[in-house]
Amino acid sequence: MTPLGIAVPFVDAGLLAQLLLGALAILAAVTVTARWRSVAAGTAVVAAGLAAAATGIAALLGAQGSGLRIPIALTVTAPLDPLVLAPDRLGGLFMALAGVVVALAALFGIGYAHGPAASRTGWTAFAVFAVGMQVVPAATDAMTFLLAWELMAAGSTALLLADHASREPVRRASVWYAAMTHLSFLFLLAGFGVLAAAAGGTSWASIAAAGVTGPAATTAFVLLTAGFATKAGLVPMHVWLPRSHPEAPSHLSAAMSAAMVKMGVYGLLLLTLRLLPHGPRWWSLVLIALGAASALYGILQASVQSDLKRLLAYSTTENLGLTTTAIGVGLLLRESGQIPVADVALVAALLLAVSHAAFKSVLFLAAGSVLHATGERDLDRLGGLAARMPWTSGAFGIGALGAAALPVTSGFVAEWVLLQSLIHVPARSDRLLAIVIPITMGIVALTVGLGLLTFVKAYGIGFLARPRSTAAAAGHESGAAMRVALVVGAMLVIALGLVPGPVARALAGAVSAEGVATVGGAGLSLAAVQVVLNPVALTVLALVILVPLAAVNVVLARRYPRRDVELAWGGGGQRTGPRMEYNATSYSEPLVRVFRGPLQASQLVDVAYHDRAPLLIEQMTYTQETGDVVEERLYLPAARLGTRLGDLARTVQNGSIHRYVGFSFAALVLVLVLVAL
């Protein structure tokens, strides 16, 4: 009997419902006329997402299905185990996460999708992507996993392509995306291949039962980590992220950034907790290093971006980096035998993943709403939207609070648990821990600090002050479906932050962590940590202070009302034009000075003097560019090398029949010698 008392087939029914609803969505996308297509297909996808959420939550709470078997033509023989869908607790969590995000994104998409994204292809691709993604965590064997994984990849690539089919940046983004996705897929394929070879089967159960060790385990770990890290957008495999997220339609960006990259996290957890649970110590150090580098690099890049969606994309790298760091710390501690603190770190990883899903979907959807209203995603051309788009700006604000990890949002809770796990590492007895943990702490702290700056900038420049372009000045609030999605998402951010206790307890089950308890209905208490976190109580305290303060303010406002003036700003003098405002580029300029190296920053001041009066300046142009050092130092040389090799390879096929005969002849001689030896 399951804890919920749900009958066993619920999970199976839920899985089946997702697949059927997905099919229904595709059917709707193909058959319904353009006018009602978004509504019909979008509703079906929302339903599929909700089904996934329900199924996932049931599985997270312990419900088990008997397994949904996929029939394939390839005769199922060793080492290929049957293809079965049956989420475990961890899988349930990620399925629920994906489902909620998909439901939000699709709901938003009903109002948002236009042009190619609302075409037959667009909605079909979105449905394939959504269902594929929801099913990934339900896979119980490598083939099913890869199948769902590739459906997710194919759907998202197709949708990415569908939007603005004739814009050059989209094509370039989609080539990057497709190539990196396939790289990830082949890493995974090779990794699972190694595991299947060592274990004699492809199902998780048989791999776990085989207890693979030695070089096979190491190879598999390296390959699979590389594959999952690519999907999770970790440095140095993050390059597809800041290219594809901005170009994708916003509901897809939201789903990709909030849910799809999480499948990389799920994979890492699956790998390190279930498939190869007894890895050596350096595995966890690899994860910590990957995570810390991604966190710091991601947020550093995010803080200097002026493209809103690109900023959010880099911030995804940061958050996934933090999550990976938490996983690494958890594994390091498990390996050191510090189980209670390790459990806290793992719960922190899950909380980070869940909270990121919540706030990042809100942020991307709000960015989509801005894009929808103004056609701009360049912060340098936005501004003043808080007055014009109150719902959007409110939702973005809450999302930004979450992303900046401020109380009382989900982001704060997640980072609180991560920090608590770090400071409670019993490092006195272990020199390695005594070095690694403080460094990790420092990096996490710097990340948090820069995150604050990033989101103050994003919100302050994008939504406050005065519009910096006519498009921004013409901004208007979005339609009902989009608003509902935004509000629900923002409420999730707050709700997860207000009641961390029950959330964390449910998550703890997914990684079988002990010592996570609820206090006072909402608060969170961790056995390994001697402090409780009760955001509700904190909120009450703050309200107790705030209410009298507000009352005093109201009284004062009655007595001394505000004066409406035409020229309040600009030192009380002349109204400054929008071009005089601080913009996103100038906002991050001090930071660029500090981190010139890793940002590949170049600044150029171009001064044009007056013709006849050389001391007078006619015009000044300031250009600041930042680049991605990983892309410039790693990928572009690799691409150039590839092209050069390609040119070299062309001499193989230079058209000379004598050369071709020579190949055949050489092969003949070689084979003759070979068989004669």
Binding site: G655, I657, H658, V661, G662, S664, F665, V673, A676, L677
Partner: protein, 219 residues
């Protein structure tokens, strides 16, 4: 047929085969090359007859006659016709220095002897001992494809290759089953005809048949 005569005939026919092959590589005249092809076909027919009669196969003269007709008459005739139509009697120029061609040919013959031994194992019957000649023919035929630039010479190289395979076939096993042999012979004949037609069209298209200039299709 006594063993001595058998050995003598075997040695003569295979010797003529090898000789004609080396002469092919040496010479540059197309007409003479076709003549050598006739010689080669005749020697091959002789070999077939010798091996067949020695093995006591009744169909041996028939098969030998077929070989003679196809390899020594029809194919050379077809080629000669193509060559006449095109009007080429000599290759335009050497792609590779003649010395290198010959040194290569010698090396390949040695290679043929070197690899044949291990492949054939410890068998000692005289026919098997002559197999390296067939392998040399194959390799030299390929060599011809590799170093010659004229369409007709390439064709001759291909036929030499085919003669080599036939030699090996008769020396090791007295030939395959009749259906297969017939089919294979027909195929080769058709290939030669097609190549002849193509060579004529090549000449019509570009005024010469130097195939090393066929380099329009490339990457």
């Amino acid at each position: 047929m006594s063993n001595g005569v058998y050995l003598q005939l075997l040695a003569t026919t295979t010797g003529v085969l090898l000789l004609s092959a080396v002469l092919q590589v040496w010479g540059r005249s197309t007409v003479r090359a076709i003549g050598l092809l006739v010689l080669q076909g005749t020697a091959l027919a002789g070999l077939v007859l010798t091996v067949g009669v020695h093995a006591g196969e009744a169909a041996a003269p028939l098969v030998a006659g077929l070989v003679l007709v196809v390899k020594a008459l029809v194919m050379p005739w077809a080629m000669l016709r193509s060559a006449r139509v095109i009007g080429v009697t000599r290759e335009r120029s050497a792609r590779v220095k003649p010395a290198i061609e010959l040194i290569g040919a010698a090396a390949l013959t040695l290679l043929a002897y070197a690899v044949s031994g291990p492949i054939l194992g410890d068998r000692t019957d005289p026919a098997t001992q002559a197999v390296p000649v067939g392998v040399s023919l194959v390799l030299l035929g390929f060599w011809q494809l590799l170093v010659r630039g004229s369409a007709i010479t390439e064709l001759i190289g291909f036929l030499m290759l085919d003669n080599g395979i036939a030699t090996i076939s008769f020396l090791t096993s007295g030939g395959l089953s009749l259906v297969v042999e017939l089919g294979a012979t027909l195929d080769v004949l058709l290939v030669v005809l097609i190549l002849g037609v193509l060579a004529v069209r090549l000449h019509a298209e570009q005024g010469h048949i130097d195939i090393s200039e066929l380099r329009e299709l490339h990457d």
